[in-house]
């Protein structure tokens, strides 16, 4: 396996070293230093502006509206004009068995998604990396990326058809073994496997791109010396590729944990039935039925805020643990 050295890699490193050196030698006032820095690196800051604007407009400004979680909100009176009611919405939520159930389902479904869904793109990326025939590799990659670009509605249609008791491929298959057909989508015990499996099928390919990029960044010299030492492909994968992309894996894991409660609920809405609510109803679908359909935005905001707080705690915890044990962290 040969790789061409990327000439810019070395250059950047030299530049960074030079910059640090220069910084260390300069002992001037704080303000002057910042100004100097801005002047030198202004292009970078200009490039940062759109992202900052995006954050401000779409993430920070809406936080103003979060206060409706503590208010008796009326659209017409507006956020500021609605009276405060304290924690009433939270009491309503936690006094509702269906919310508790939805919370439980969210955690279970996310946990399944994490255990079974997180390793898949890594495995896929490692496997792609081992394919030597380029055309086959490209074709295989395209095929696994495809489901990502298909709308959830169509995916749900495919799933419903595949699991149909009369014409579905799954039940046809079961029929060959003399098993009775199962109406999967009305069975609570089948909902989670089907949902998590669909999620993996839809997204694993696309998510593997990140890891493929990380693998591409591994220095070829490591592999070359391993070949000289007589290492097998398997050994190279375990001893070189995996440890090299471990920081990427950990960052992705932390992000994933932060998004854990964000179950893709549009897919659930498309697939669930009252018959499967007991395992399928998650916080977001609960909010959708209770809040958005019923126009209770304040209650929905309270549930959303709760979701965000839990996600925040999860990310903080994951980050701290990772920092302590692997020295890789988001911040």
């Amino acid at each position: 396996m040969t790789r061409e050295q990327d000439p810019t890699v070395g250059q950047t490193e030299t530049l960074v070293v030079e910059a640090r050196e220069a910084q260390r030698h300069r002992k001037v006032g704080q303000l002057e230093r910042v100004g100097d820095h801005l002047k030198r690196e202004w292009q970078l800051y200009v490039m940062l502006i759109p992202t900052i604007l995006w954050l401000l407009v779409f993430l920070y400004k809406p936080m103003y509206g979060l206060q409706i979680a503590f208010k008796d909100y009326s659209i017409f009176r507006g956020v500021a004009g609605s009276p405060w009611i304290g924690l009433e919405h939270f009491q309503t939520l936690f006094g509702n068995d269906q919310f508790i159930r939805a919370l439980k389902n969210t955690i279970i479904i996310s946990f399944y998604g994490l255990i079974f869904g997180f390793p898949m793109p890594i495995i896929l990326a490692l496997m792609f990396n081992e394919i030597l025939v380029q055309t086959f590799k490209k074709t295989a990659q395209t095929i696994v990326y495809l489901p990502h670009f298909v709308s959830s509605v169509i995916i749900a249609g495919i799933v419903i058809t595949a699991f149909s008791p009369s014409a579905g491929i799954v039940n046809t298959f079961l029929g060959w073994f003399g098993m009775e057909s199962i109406y999967f989508l009305t069975k609570p015990e089948w909902f989670r496997p089907i949902f998590v499996g669909t999620g993996i099928w839809q997204e694993a390919g696309f998510q593997s791109i990140v890891y493929l990029a990380a693998i591409a960044g591994v220095s070829p010299t490591l592999y070359e010396s391993a070949v000289v030492d007589g290492a097998s492909r398997w050994q190279m994968m375990w001893k070189i590729t995996v440890p090299s992309i471990l920081p990427t894996i950990i960052i992705m894991l932390i992000i994933r944990i932060g998004n854990m409660l964000e179950v893709s609920f549009e897919m659930i809405i498309l697939l669930y039935q009252p018959a499967t609510y007991s395992t399928a109803d998650v916080v977001n679908t609960f909010i959708y039925r209770q809040g958005i359909q019923g126009g209770q935005y304040d209650l929905a905001a309270a549930a959303g805020l709760f979701n965000a707080v839990v996600a925040f705690v999860l990310v903080m915890t994951a980050n701290t643990i990772s920092k302590r044990y692997s020295r890789t962290s988001l911040w």
Binding site: I75, F76, S166, Y183, P274, A275
Partner: protein, 532 residues
Amino acid sequence: MNIEYRNREDTMRKLSLSLAILGTTALTAPAFADDTHMIVDEPLELTIHMHWPRAQGYGVGGDVGKIYPVEEAAREMTGISLIDQTSGRNTKDNYEAMNLLLAQGNLPDIVGGNRIQQPVNQYGPEGAFVPLNDLVKEHAPNIQKFWDEHPGLVEAISAYDGNYYYIPYLPDGKYGRAWYIRQDWLDKLGLEQPDNVDELHEVLVAFRDQDPNGNGRKDEVPYFAREWEEVLRLMTLWDARTSGSDTYHDFYVTPDGKIAHPYAQPAYRDAMANLAQWYSEGLIDAEIFTRGSSSRDYLLGENLGGMTHDWFASTSGYNAALSEKIDGFNFVPYLPPKSASGVRMEEHRRIPIKPDGWAISYTNKHPVETIKYFDFFFSPEGSNLANFGVEGKTWDMVDGEPIYKEEVLTSDSPVNSQMYLEGAQIYRGYPQDYRYEWQWTSPAAREGIELYDTEDLLVEQFLGVAFNKQEQEVYDKYWPSIQTYMLERQQAWILGSGDVEADWDAYIATLNKMGFEKVIEVMNTAYERQYG
């Protein structure tokens, strides 16, 4: 036909006479040269929010650059022009668009469209919309006449403070859905149309077992439905109710004038046991919960489906569509089978009043002119305009009846789609005229409707209640969870993963624990206040 129509026809006859004198050569320009409908001396412009499923904006197909022909005619006749100011043009969700509009605060003069009743009745009393009671009494004789001739409608659209804030779209015609069966299958198996629930059971069993489609496989689906909720209507065959309105799972009015919920009645328990039995016997589409909206196309097209409960208008079209593909295909409406206690009942009907229409917002500086403009569409000429489009362009007055031109009826595009582009039949507040739909109803559907008219099948409709703030809070707090629980149990019972007879006491106890009685109480308080 009731009195109102006879009056309307009289006026039309006179009108058509005057039109004949004025000449009917003008094609696009309205032929009304007199200014009996002129509302203002100087032309007046009013802004409008008009968001409905077919168009997000007040203009042809939602393109506000194209003025509706009906709007042009109305401008000429009334002197008032409506200028589009629709919010949420990029969403098809009417609630979302309405919420966007309200959140902006800068309301246009007129707020109209689909499903405006709930927001209008909620924010009207808070001051967002103008109460119409006095305005209509003083300035809108045609609307007032309509209210007088149709008692109960004003109550139904009123908010909790006793005022009403919008002029609704008032559908005409009685029947919506009907029972349809494969007559050719019945003939083939030598069976009669089922006249009661037991005969229906026999027929469905025969459909299941005797291979009426003749392909040698036991693949027939005796009963199917596009919406799984339709399967519940079978329960009316055992004297249970499933809904009180054209919305599924709705409350209903009991014979003694109280509001109750169908899913908490003993009749429901017994009917459910029977329904579950039918499901387990394979008489009901096993995949009814997931087959979805294309099931009718699929099951009829593949010669698999035997019977359904669906709309007259759309279901009667299959005979023509499938006559070449399936030899002898004949899917006909038949009278609802008699229930276990011998009652024939068609629970579904068209609701006389819709949550759609238009309202006057608090920012409107010309409420009197606006209500007169609303009133115009309740006058015979305005109603014809709103129903049929511009006279001379899409229809002509023939013997006092508005009759569509031949090219409208024979066009490839359905008449309603053509009307939407004219600006007729859109969701302004107006009384729909059934003569509009009758003209393009297929002969098969007309026969079905006439058949249903031979008996008294319909039941009283629950037109909804307007809650005050406290009642709304109780409803919002308990009802969504209760309904979720009801539907969960319902499907579980149908699918056989629970036994309704055994579960019933626990089910009722859980409902009450979840606040069911409180909801019923506020429903009845509100109902009493509104209609009592």
